[in-house]
């Protein structure tokens, strides 16, 4: 692959996030299928999922920073523009999730669903952001 290190680090973060999302979905799906709806039962899963998200994001930044040591410029102007544009075009997904969660609270939907909704929208927003960055790297911006 002839992409820049930034692009490669986005690929790594995307794959890691999708794997984490898949693992989360399988575990949460099995628990929900088994009829577990008590929020405390999901506490560990939520903490691990949130922690994993933070670790993945930090790892991506660290890898990009380490790779940029040999380059005087680090992230260049194109990388920054692509990052900003991808963020602005993927943020709506998180906003939609938060809005849906607030609506769910108004209608007194079970908290466990609201928590799942928030986490899923966070994960999916990140995945969309990574995909958009890769599209911009490939197609141009």
């Amino acid at each position: 692959m002839g992409g820049s290190f930034e692009e490669k680090s986005v690929w790594i973060q995307l794959i890691a996030t999708v794997l984490a999302l898949a693992a989360y979905s399988v575990i949460a799906g099995r628990m929900l299928a088994a009829g577990v709806t008590a929020l405390p039962a999901y506490a560990a899963l939520f903490m691990v999922a949130t922690g994993l998200m933070v670790v993945l994001l930090v790892a991506g930044l660290v890898v990009a920073a380490l790779a940029g040591r040999g380059r005087p410029e680090g992230r260049d102007e194109r990388d920054r523009l692509i990052g900003w544009r991808a963020e602005s075009n993927s943020g709506w997904l998180l906003a939609t999730g938060v809005f849906a969660a607030i609506t769910g609270m108004i209608f007194s939907i079970d908290n466990v669903w609201i928590a799942h909704l928030l986490l899923l929208s966070l994960f999916l927003s990140e995945v969309l952001g990574f995909v958009m960055r890769l599209v911009y790297y490939r197609r141009g911006v």
Partner: protein
């Protein structure tokens, strides 16, 4: 009062970077990238018209080749405008 419909002309940025690199001893994209502080992939994207550089980067590229900006980059109007 009638107002004319404003059509903003669509502009495409073209460049002569490939030719200028050739004229400067087949300067590589990496050499040019190192001299203006961007990645080789960014130079490749600029050359291929996939990315329009900032004014600062455009001036830096022109300075590397010792040419005025408009000899390196040209703006081509692809659709006429009417105001």
């Amino acid at each position: 009062m009638t107002r004319g419909k404003v059509i903003v002309p669509k502009m495409v940025l073209q460049n002569q970077i490939r030719t200028l690199r050739f004229m400067h001893g087949e300067m590589t994209q990496q050499d040019l990238a190192d001299r203006i502080g961007v990645s080789r992939q960014t130079i490749n994207a600029i050359e291929g018209g996939k990315y329009s550089p900032t004014l600062e980067a455009a001036f830096q590229i022109a300075r590397v080749f010792g040419r005025p900006l408009d000899e390196v980059f040209q703006c081509v109007v692809t659709r006429g405008g009417r105001v």
